[in-house]
Symmetry: C2
């Protein structure tokens, strides 16, 4: 067994994600007004632990999880083969959240920010990278909402590098895709980046700082949208369509999502990994929205990604 020698950076990052977890949960509880998060701490036998916080049956949020995990261990043969990971030891720490509102006019949201390290056989860190993103999955399209969401992310990106938003926005459009459905996107995107390594004058602290600013911006991007839509009246038709689209969300998460695959291949805690799955889902045979309907407008935006900010 290798003893991994964690750096000061890992401590900074781990403290941050725990603090962010608390802040985000509070913001979500406040706007929900009814339900609160319950927490479970878990230990990963092969190394590390996590804090799973789940909200259920709220006034606004039907199901959601805001999880942190700090996990590490030796690189197994399965990880080498299936995740194409090299090295002797690994470390991963991140925050991951998925929120499924009850009202179909309130979008589902996902964000995940993580730090990854590889260690050699002496337990010395030999590689480090950052990844993350925030993306929105509405059931009905309100352009103002989508523009606000993207603008908040662009503002953060622009403070670091003006090439980030266009690049990370495109990454997001290219990642959350149901390829088996003719490249239909899961939602209206956001930003996504991965494998960002400290280099030149962008050292570890710079990337941690970028991830922190992205994490801090989550509530600013999402909560105002919830506030605007949560009391809109809806009927069975809208709920039905939401559940159909949640089916697509399920397909993406179980078939394509690398985070899910990583969790399964590293013997992660199943209930924490699958907290991302929507509470209720429909799989109809060959469901097609009516041409010209609001449902079809949403589908179009998923089929043909939009440059929301003309940026």
């Amino acid at each position: 067994m290798i003893e991994l020698q964690f750096s000061e950076h890992t401590r900074t990052w781990v403290n941050y994600i725990h603090e962010l977890q608390t802040r985000i949960c509070l913001a979500l509880e406040t706007i929900d007004g009814k339900a609160t998060f319950s927490e479970e701490h878990w230990e990963r036998p092969a190394g590390g632990n996590g804090r799973t916080r789940v909200i259920q049956s709220g006034a606004v949020f039907e199901k959601g999880g805001v999880n942190t995990s700090v996990v590490f261990g030796p690189v197994t043969d399965e990880m080498r083969m299936q995740l194409r990971i090299d090295g002797d030891g690994w470390f991963a720490a991140g925050l991951s959240l998925v929120i499924h509102p009850y009202n179909p006019y309130v979008p589902t949201v996902h964000c995940n920010y993580r730090m990854f390290e590889m260690y050699n056989s002496q337990g010395i860190a030999v590689d480090r990278w950052f990844g993350g993103g925030t993306d929105l999955t509405p059931y009905y399209l309100f352009e103002d909402d989508v523009k606000h969401f993207h603008q908040i992310l662009k503002n953060v990106c622009d403070d670091f590098d003006t090439s980030f938003y266009p690049s990370f926005k495109r990454n997001c459009d290219d990642y959350f895709v149901n390829w088996h459905r003719n490249a239909e996107r899961r939602g209206v995107g956001g930003i996504f980046y991965d494998h960002q390594r400290p280099m030149g004058n962008r050292e570890t602290d710079w990337w941690i700082n970028f991830a922190m600013r992205c994490g801090d911006a989550f509530s600013e991007g999402y909560i105002p949208i919830v506030a605007r839509r949560k009391d809109m009246a809806f009927g069975e038709k809208e709920k039905y369509w939401q559940e159909i689209r949640r089916g697509r969300y399920t397909e993406f998460n179980l078939i394509h999502d690398r985070g899910t695959l990583f969790g399964l291949k590293t013997n992660g805690r199943i209930e924490s990994i699958f907290m991302s799955l929507p509470p209720t889902v429909r799989f109809d045979y060959n469901y097609q929205p009516l041409p010209g309907s609001p449902e079809e407008a949403l589908l179009q935006a998923c089929q043909h990604p939009v440059n929301w900010l003309n940026a």
Copy 2:
């Protein structure tokens, strides 16, 4: 483009699966008494076609599909890599059905029987194998039902080889498994076999005949169970549990099922592949049935496969 030279065997088999499809749909429509199957023919641009028959919103069956497909084409690099298939041309023909009843006391059922061939660059068949199986996924455990279901399958197997039932029953228990949930089975099993090649005095006709007898036995195994359970009264609690278990069904089909993977990797028709997904599903965080409850009894049978016939 290789011109595949199909044998008389493929014709026999293709005729059979079409005829079986019609027979099974009729048996299911009869016991449903309300809904009928609608049919869609589809063409696969790279070779072949299919007949998808779907039943929805019936008196008994909430959603179900009885599909045949006869597909073929050149072996692509993706198939070589991801499906570990060798050769120049391939052919696959089979019947696949999944039936999701509305009443939680009526089990879900799946069966699939298929013939596969590989061709060389001259279009000559150089390899051929058979696979298939029938398995049951109840939401509540009625031992008599499960024993009846297994007995019918054992009777067919025993007429061909008395080692088949115990061996194919174990295959089934080992295949329909959510490995990510600590080897929890999808249901109470049945039989499953794969890669059975004509050899010695068990030529192609012998294996086709075995598959035909298995296919013929489907209705005898399933319909009496439907008849016994379809009018049992149930409430919200039972429906809820059914939808939780349907979540497990979804997890298996999207994460582990080789048939789904094969369909996705060969650009199959998505709506026909996903007709297997349950109509409504719940994903609760960490749902646990009460100790000693009927729900827990079912779960136990999925966690620890039972030798139903003491065979």
